[in-house]
Symmetry: C2
Subunit: 214 residues, 2 copies
Amino acid sequence: MALSTAQRVADTLRDRIEGGGLPPGTQLSEEALGRELGVSRNTLREAFRLLVHESLVVHRLNRGVFVRVLEPADVTDIYRVRAALETAGVRAADGAGPAARAAVTEAVTRAERAAADGDWQEVGSADLRFHRALAGLGGSARIDSAMDRLLAELRLAFHTMPSPRRFHEPFLTRNRALATLLENGEYGRAEAELTTYLDDARQLILDTMREAAS
Amino acid sequence: MALSTAQRVADTLRDRIEGGGLPPGTQLSEEALGRELGVSRNTLREAFRLLVHESLVVHRLNRGVFVRVLEPADVTDIYRVRAALETAGVRAADGAGPAARAAVTEAVTRAERAAADGDWQEVGSADLRFHRALAGLGGSARIDSAMDRLLAELRLAFHTMPSPRRFHEPFLTRNRALATLLENGEYGRAEAELTTYLDDARQLILDTMREAAS
DNA sequence: GCTAAGATATTGTTCAACAATCCTCAAGAG
DNA sequence: CTCTTGAGGATTGTTGAACAATATCTTAGC
């Protein structure tokens, strides 16, 4: 047993949440889930803690745990952190290792290839990898894991998005432009472009959320 | 009962760790601690998970939890994140609210007053508040809590520092200089100064750690 | 001195029970 | 009719004991 039971349960729940089987706002009942997954309440609670740590669920005392509902304010907040971490990566790009730099270009290429195949799900994944690679230029394990958590959180908002294509297509060329700026060492321009890029993406998500809410 | 039992247990353990009662590397035995604090093993394990989340302890499968031992690599990593979050705050200072800006100056003043009183413990606390206020200029709740966790982690390293005065005194005037730059709207210079400031502080900690290890 | 098998201690997980808290909903006062 | 109040039911919070799984320590054998 390489992984603890609690971790396996957390993996299962994470898949269901990200797959849409457990929509935001759903309460995760200890008794029902424990019976279904064949684990005790204590172990299930241990799994809940892991998901709380990833911000995929929230825990309200004496109320239980619920699948996280992302408010517009959360999206704004997340993009503030992303701007801090990703621009820090761009500023550190000069001193980053070749592997970290290659990961940026690699992600852009894969996104373009997926777009050509019409696989917009994969475009979305590649886009996330691209931004994780940007933050990864910072060369910090803590930044990497923080970025992973942020993007997992953001995925909760993507579930309410109607068309992945509408959201990801406009950013394909901007991703490539950013990667090129980095390859050419134009870090100042890259940082400026990244800042407006993130502002635009945030605004697009917020508009879509408001639209879906009405 | 406003807080759960697990949270109260986590609070007392956190106090002991930060107070030095539980030095880094100490194993937290479930049976011994549970008996001493009068809580069941299950509740204690729940408290452990909270502390793991704060990175104050590490959990090794089938081995138990241990008070975190900060390696030099951790210090380097932490300062990379601090640089990202604090410089992001400085860059956002122009649009920050008056309360957030006042918190920066306030922390500097309190540090100076404590130094005049010779209370170097309090100088250290005020210094942490100063840097938390810098990151707070970013206006993001997630950045604020991330910063809190980072500083709590760093405090583990401070325990091995022999003299708080030796570490904090040289930064008093630099803190004031930074605050003045921010008040005058010289954000570019403030960011540059902050970057070298953090590099110097990191180097000082690393040197002290290496010295203590030999 | 080294390796391997067994003994011991600790953690991982389950279970059942009870306490504490929150939510629902109906009854009553204004 | 609205608002408060309280009882009831459902869910979570916590406990203690038991057993399983794993790591560490001890010891026997070479």
